[in-house]
């Protein structure tokens, strides 16, 4: 073993998405425009469990073939319930860059588990995918998520004016990123505090 587990945290663990068992739960999330846009990369409408199974199976199969994305279901340790998903996409190996997408079923889960999942996610991105740059797209439409990414150390890089439209309102798209040296520096700071 070359380190502590990449997948097991304090409260939650990163596991496989199960296209047989998880689709009923995930189907409910498709009422959320952000989930459909980012996860399915498709047109926004609620998806049935059957539609979702087809779409997700195809995505997982493609990711397995081209190593362009990595999917995780977030579950409380030892429980079958899926409370969120963590996805690494847009993996450009030659440039050592990739994108992180995090989604939770509700605000309470985001608040309870968000910080911990990001901690695992950052370690996975920099120490396993060996990325140099990890980026994400956020907005003021979800301020809780924005705060969690900022607290984790992501820096705002780009503000794309009126690039997003949620619930009848335009929002600026806020692009954030963290570079591996920045992450390593944060780890050292944590170590020094101990």
């Amino acid at each position: 073993m070359i380190g502590t587990s990449l997948f097991i945290g304090q409260q939650i663990e990163l596991t496989a998405i199960n296209p047989e068992k998880d689709m009923e739960a995930l189907s409910a999330w498709t009422a959320d425009q952000e989930f459909v846009k980012e996860f399915l990369e498709g047109d926004f409408h609620p998806y049935s469990a059957a539609e979702l199974k087809k779409a997700i199976s195809e995505k997982i199969k493609k990711a397995d073939e081209n190593h362009g994305a990595y999917y995780f279901a977030i579950r409380p340790i030892g429980k079958p319930d899926v409370v969120g998903v963590l996805i690494f996409g847009w993996i450009w190996s030659s440039q050592q860059s990739g994108r992180i997408f995090l989604f939770f079923e509700d605000k309470a889960s985001l608040e309870q588990y968000g910080e911990e999942v990001l901690k695992l996610g950052l370690r996975y991105a920099f120490m396993e995918l060996s990325l140099h740059r990890l980026w994400t797209e956020l907005s003021d439409h979800n301020p809780t998520k924005l705060t969690i990414f900022e607290k984790a150390g992501f820096l705002r890089e780009t503000q794309r004016k009126e690039a997003l439209f949620f619930d009848g309102t335009y929002y600026d798209q806020l692009d954030y990123a963290m570079l591996k040296p920045e992450w390593k520096k944060l780890q050292e700071e944590v170590q020094n505090e101990k």
Binding site: R133, Q159, K161, D175
Partner: protein, 185 residues
Amino acid sequence: MKNDFFVSNLVELAPVHIDTDLPLWEKWDHDSDYQRQLNIYPARQMSAASMKEWFEKDNLKSALFSIHELKESKTIGFVELDGYEWTARTSWVGIAIGEDEYRGRGYGTDAMNVLLKFAFRALNMHRVNLSVFEFNKRAIRSYEKCGFKYEGTSREQIYKEDKRWDVYNMGILQKDWELLQSLEK
């Protein structure tokens, strides 16, 4: 009367002619600097025949044009609007002038303006995005002339020649582009 929607002072945007344009693309791609300014992927060599296969197989969800200079009706580059997102009505533009003697002379800027007219007045886009690499100064000047505004930097997004380079992100809104047009009249 000929419809001149895609015609401007110096150029016309025309559909890509597979048999005559793709060999030009292969020629342009042989210049590695050209490819390194165009996109993030490792520069490669692809034959016109393979490109043709890809064209005929791929159902393009984008608007791809050849740029014709008007005097000799010669293909000098291409411009593409893609990545349509129909909720916020946004899309991405990419442009390249492959023929060296037409670079830095306003042809690209002219072609970009026709494409923006297409995006905003035909497709009714709300905004158009682009990314440009920090070492491509000529392109940045051209985009600014068209009205694109700098919106931020993707730090160290490019890794080439054992160095990390920044990518600049720019954008233009429909209302701002229309305002520019009314001022220039």
